[in-house]
Subunit: 235 residues, 4 copies
Amino acid sequence: MSNEWKTSISSSGEDAVIRGEELENVMDMDFADAIFLILKGEKPKKAESKMFKTILSGAIDHGVGNPSTVSARTVQSGGNDMNTSVAAGIMALGDAHGGAIEEGMNILQSEKSAIEIVEEYLEEGKKIPGLGHKVYDETDPRTEKILDRAEELGLSGEYVEKMKAIQERFAEEKVRLVMNVDGAISGIMSDLGFEPELGKGFFIIARTPGLVAHTREEMDLPDFRREDGEYTGEE
Amino acid sequence: MSNEWKTSISSSGEDAVIRGEELENVMDMDFADAIFLILKGEKPKKAESKMFKTILSGAIDHGVGNPSTVSARTVQSGGNDMNTSVAAGIMALGDAHGGAIEEGMNILQSEKSAIEIVEEYLEEGKKIPGLGHKVYDETDPRTEKILDRAEELGLSGEYVEKMKAIQERFAEEKVRLVMNVDGAISGIMSDLGFEPELGKGFFIIARTPGLVAHTREEMDLPDFRREDGEYTGEE
Amino acid sequence: MSNEWKTSISSSGEDAVIRGEELENVMDMDFADAIFLILKGEKPKKAESKMFKTILSGAIDHGVGNPSTVSARTVQSGGNDMNTSVAAGIMALGDAHGGAIEEGMNILQSEKSAIEIVEEYLEEGKKIPGLGHKVYDETDPRTEKILDRAEELGLSGEYVEKMKAIQERFAEEKVRLVMNVDGAISGIMSDLGFEPELGKGFFIIARTPGLVAHTREEMDLPDFRREDGEYTGEE
Amino acid sequence: MSNEWKTSISSSGEDAVIRGEELENVMDMDFADAIFLILKGEKPKKAESKMFKTILSGAIDHGVGNPSTVSARTVQSGGNDMNTSVAAGIMALGDAHGGAIEEGMNILQSEKSAIEIVEEYLEEGKKIPGLGHKVYDETDPRTEKILDRAEELGLSGEYVEKMKAIQERFAEEKVRLVMNVDGAISGIMSDLGFEPELGKGFFIIARTPGLVAHTREEMDLPDFRREDGEYTGEE
């Protein structure tokens, strides 16, 4: 029977702590720093703190038409509260929606070399996480911003290098693709020492405020959103 | 047919903005400031920024035994991914779990006076949101911290006053109860100009990192958590 | 501490029972009868069984454009499994989506008379649950089918009468509206002795197979459904 | 842009159909038959109908301590409605909770022989879906009941045979394990012509009434279930 609930994350009550830090002290921390602490078990250094907030703030929202926003707003329109609606938005963040960061961190932190990774993806005909953009061919300005900041802060390390090596190798083998934001984040998060298992978690944390804002906006619209549907009959 | 998806919150693509602010500039903002922006439609002033991060960081997690943590970890143990598990945790944040902030903001921002509010709650035999604590009788140190900070920052206004007036009136009518953290947050969020409809949203945003951390921790434990259950037969 | 999990619903293991009935015997029951048993704590009589399956089968699905179907399919398109997608569909079934059955059962089983109910709804300018249809003015053929069947089976009782009385009274006070399927179901479920608290539950049970079918269909379509969104700027 | 919502499952409105069958006729069908229709696109034959209801009724609930029940009830205790609570229960039905049916259907319907399957699972040290039981060593009475019924009804075919062959081969290679209910269901559902992608769907449909009943029971208990938690500090 496993009805034992043990944790190394936090405690409640008078002596409440977060990862060993008293909650009262956590209240003095920047929210992004508190997030870093609870995920990593240690406070960020100054440079890490600056990098981390850039990544979180940059992913806070991205328009109204994507699956997570549509899910959250549609569920709200069925007559539901904030918590249920935001949860439906987060549920949409599956492998095809934000999953590239986790997959990117996985390949970067694997034993495989950039050459082996490109070979494997080409063989299987799969899209390499972190490469390619619908609009940009040469450079993606947000990727540049993230990579430049990492460079300035002295945080760009072996995983950002590996991501660039994957990009190079793919250019040699097939075509030059721009490194997208997911690629930059995968590299830097790995260089910051985070595990791939938290890749989706960053995205969820960053996007939740956007989902709250969309749900709030939807509350002022009529209930029961209806899409035009068509019955095509039995095939 | 309402298959029109319009929003004043954000756009995607090359010219992506958040509430009118270019996404590239948002990447330079503190994450808590970006949250303030997306929820309120304007950037926080310096004092507001300090206040807001205190509130978010202070609610980041609170031990392992509460319903949201139990839900998230139990769903993970059924063999589920990060997004589904965290969503289950957020779903647990219903009226009885973090709902006091929204209810508190509602009564503070209503037309009713402190005297009328206390009278109404006493008549209906309901618990007044923001008053009472399991442990503290005199003062709750975290409430004090929040209220002192609001005072220092010049942000304590009419709604914090109204919350104190409710506390006073209740003491006159029945018994002195400590103002708890929900009461302090309800007052200050109202003084910062936020609507009650966002009360639950703050709590969801603040607690999501905790749910990510708990889900990650649960991933390393055996699948299929089982509680001791007992069949009591038909009554 | 409430970590005691007691139930009168079922047990597991060798001697597994459902509401006191051995699971092996439940395996011989019609699924609709097993549902009746687990919700009500007793097996349906023959007439009740016939009535109950009509109601469940009639609500199994209703096109592709409503909020629950859109949510389930959108979440699947984000790269999610069956369980997460179906759950998102069920989450959409809030007060504005299937909620009329529960509200209808509530007013029928309240102490208030038909006259008082109509008066109250007219005063508050609210829509009476169970009355009105977008298409039908005179009669709704599915309502007729349900009511006729209840009549034949000798199951139409005081609550169906009260629903008709509400319809009559509303016609006297304002305008004749057709009784819709929600109205018929509210009346008959009440006459079958079910509580209002289960009103939404019937609908969830009946619609889940539809959500499974839609999710399966969506699995064969491209990932990441995107709606056309428009950024309207800050107001 | 994929904001086209086409379906071959159902339509709404006056001429509503389910898989080409008029909704008014579907209202005359047994609920289990309507489920068969919506999932498979055709009505069950008489024998198929009997088999199908046995499988659904047999999985309707299984005690209070498993992850799906705990999730549903915990979310309800946070102050949530029926739909949100039941959804949380369904979310828990991930790979480790009911996933053996889907995995079983997958291996049975794969090109691989029983010998190859056993070899592969033994090599990878994985548990073969459908084999083994915590309590029963010789025979599992519910498995027997399902298999006997399939035999009587003339529905036991190549996939049930393949499941038995896997059991035999495993006995030769390692040890005799009882075929459990998941194994029997995997075989018969495959013999009924269902795809593995629906394996989890059957289980969700069958278990939803149980989750509704548990959520209803929890509504009468105090809010905010709390488990005993322990903070173990930082490792």
